[in-house]
């Protein structure tokens, strides 16, 4: 997984609770991304980061926030989880000089 870890790997939570997912990389890559993967859809971008403290929204950012205080960590927060946020979440990284994205192992989130 190209030096990318995600935690937790599985989580069950209740509607209305806050949830934070963590992505950690050891590659010192500049770009980091959060995607969600759902049946019938390709990977959809939630938020991405192009450097420490530099983030921007993707196509499905409503209900999610992110933070990147260090190069190696990119956090995704669901402020108040909803059942529609039940999904598999993937983090990806990309070196600034290349276009190839590498993905982490994923986090399966179930919101009851």
């Amino acid at each position: 997984d190209a030096g990318i870890t995600q935690s937790p790997r599985h989580k069950v939570t209740e509607t209305g609770t806050p949830v934070t997912l963590r992505c950690h990389q050891t590659e010192n890559h500049r770009y980091m991304y959060w995607y969600r993967q759902d049946p019938g859809h390709g990977l959809r971008l939630i938020h991405y980061s192009y450097g420490v403290k530099d983030t921007d929204k993707g196509e499905v950012s409503d209900g999610y926030s992110v933070s990147r205080s260090k190069t190696e960590d990119f956090l995704l927060t669901l402020e108040s989880a909803t059942s529609s946020q039940t999904s598999v979440y993937f983090c990806a990284i990309r070196d600034g000089s290349q276009e190839t994205q590498y993905f982490g192992p994923g986090t399966r989130l179930l919101v009851l």
Binding site: D1, A2, I4, Y31, Y33, Q37, D38, P39, G40, H41, G42, L43, R44, L45, Y48, Y50, D56, S87, V88, F90, E99, T100, Q101, Y102, F103, G104, P105, G106, R108
Partner: protein, 111 residues
């Protein structure tokens, strides 16, 4: 179980045969393309990439073909093995932060 690909197109091939997986991409301005393999319960794994200034690129047992005229990408896997069973999807990039991902094709290798 899998949350990915409940209704994915499926390609079934005999072990040892060649597999061809197709992808229609959406944007004629895309200039970089990637094929990923995703096994059940795992993250997408990079297989091979190609830039728009090329028509063909070969890796180990895999070849990617790009037809820009019809916006079509294909992945050929030679001598398909049981370990090749997975979902395969393509991604396109226009040189920005944004990638567009296909929904994928499930490859089943029959013994």
């Amino acid at each position: 179980g899998e949350s990915v690909g409940l209704h994915l197109p499926t390609l079934s091939v005999q072990e040892g045969d060649n597999s061809i997986i197709n992808c229609a991409y959406s944007n004629s301005a895309s200039d970089y393309f990637i094929w990923y393999k995703q096994e059940s319960g795992k993250g997408p794994q990079f297989i091979i990439d190609i830039r728009s200034n090329m028509d063909k690129r070969q890796g180990q047992r895999v070849t990617v073909l790009l037809n820009k005229t019809v916006k079509h990408l294909s992945l050929q896997i030679a001598a398909t093995q049981p370990g090749d069973s997975a979902v395969y999807f393509c991604a396109e990039n226009m040189g920005t932060y944004k990638y567009i991902f296909g929904t994928g094709t499930r490859l089943k290798v029959l013994a």
